[in-house]
């Protein structure tokens, strides 16, 4: 089963929940899809890591074949091409590597070449496969790196640590998931962004449940919203300075705290029930 953990707002505890859930789940692989800022490896500290480069394709133009018809420029809906000084010019950052320019070129003047945009790192942490998508600094779209990271995972169970937000990279991270776990922070800001991802997973017709992290009493708007939308709240994690300290040290709470381990084991079991219900 593939479980994607997402949150909308950053800093709600996606990585904390993902890492701890992976650690208690049977035969689970952890995939860090927060490629702009992957940090699951700080907890798992994987060994014998192997790096695989991730490429995207960008078009190149053969000036001797180009007849200046501009079909490629007109076709590009991302406006990644311009036609100046009698030849097409590509803006690699804007290009989505769709390959359309090569298809519409009537003279075969467009070829494609590889451009490295990041790496996928694979290693083991106490037998747990740990995969991280790492986007090169300054790159605009993490989608190809996320896709490559997801492809690298092929275990029985997978926990996908999604990027924050509700944009393209989040959609890519959750696209193949069997179940989505929404981590929510009981604050007005956290609730606002929670509703955005709630809408996203609803649109994608994914089964999903909620973990409220860092609770300090009941945050009524969030609880009422979940009740009104028949969204199950699977777990409430109280704010606890000791747990925060463990996380800040880069340790995995379930390996040190039996009560916590029990809590995440129950969460895992609950997800299995919810996903198959």
């Amino acid at each position: 089963m593939k479980i994607a953990v997402l949150s909308g707002k950053g800093g709600t505890g996606k990585t904390f929940v993902s890492v701890n859930l992976t650690a208690v789940a049977p035969h689970a692989t952890y995939i860090d899809c927060d490629a702009e800022e992957p940090n699951g490896h700080l907890f798992f500290k994987p060994e014998q890591t192997q790096q695989t480069e991730v490429y995207t394709m960008i078009p190149t133009f053969d000036g001797t074949k180009c007849n200046g018809c501009r079909k490629c420029v007109d076709f590009c809906r991302f406006n990644a091409l311009a036609f100046v000084q009698g030849k097409p010019k590509v803006f690699p950052d804007v290009c989505h590597a769709c390959g359309g320019c090569a298809l519409v070129c009537p003279t075969g003047a467009v070829a494609e070449e590889k451009r490295g945009i990041g790496v996928v790192s694979e290693g083991l942490s106490d037998g747990i496969p740990v995969i991280s998508g790492i986007l090169n600094t300054g790159e605009i779209s993490a989608v190809p790196v996320i896709r490559a990271a997801l492809r690298a995972g092929n275990g029985e169970n997978t926990v996908i640590d999604s990027p924050p937000g509700s944009g393209c990279s989040v959609m890519e991270a959750v696209s193949g998931a069997d179940y989505c776990l929404l981590v929510a922070e009981p604050t007005a800001f956290g609730f606002h962004n929670f509703r955005m991802v709630h809408k996203l997973v609803s649109l994608l017709h994914k089964p999903f449940g909620v973990v409220i992290n860092k609770t300090n009493g009941v945050y009524a708007p969030l609880e009422e919203f979940c009740a009104n939308h028949h969204t199950p709240i699977l777990l409430r994690i109280s704010y606890d300075a000791k747990i925060a300290e463990i996380a800040a040290r880069g340790d995995i709470a379930v390996t040190l705290n039996p009560a916590f381990a029990q809590m995440f084991t129950s969460l895992w079991e609950r997800i299995q029930e919810e996903a198959t219900a």
Binding site: N79, G167, C168
Partner: protein, 118 residues
């Protein structure tokens, strides 16, 4: 010579945005005529600056008066040897006058794009 100026909804004032200006004024100084055209790039999902720059190039502009301009657009404009001057907020007419009098400075700093989440 053709001078291009991004215009806002009033069709009179200079638009603060280069790529997403709703209209462009093209002043032909040889015939002393003005033409106001819709900027198709204003509605672009992405790459609006590049598309607007292409539009300006295709209208055979020699000179652009704009408040600001992004890096990608400037690459297209400079490759087409278009001179870019820094416009002042206010009407296109005032800016054309200031340009005529040699009061506008060349725009030499180009900002990184305001790319939304992609």
């Amino acid at each position: 010579m053709i001078i291009a100026i991004p215009l806002d909804e009033t069709k009179q004032d200079v638009c603060v945005s280069f790529g997403r200006a709703p209209y462009y004024l093209f002043r032909n100084t040889d015939t002393n005529t003005d033409e106001i055209l819709t900027n198709a790039a204003a509605q672009a999902q992405g790459g609006a600056g590049i598309k607007a720059a292409q539009f300006v190039v295709d209208q055979h502009a020699d000179t652009l008066l704009t408040i600001r301009c992004g890096e990608n657009a400037s690459e297209v404009l400079l490759a087409a040897k278009i001179c870019i001057y820094k416009a002042q907020k206010g009407s296109a007419a005032d800016n054309l006058k200031a340009y005529d009098e040699g009061k506008l400075e060349k725009l030499e700093s180009f900002h990184p794009g305001f790319h939304g989440a992609v």
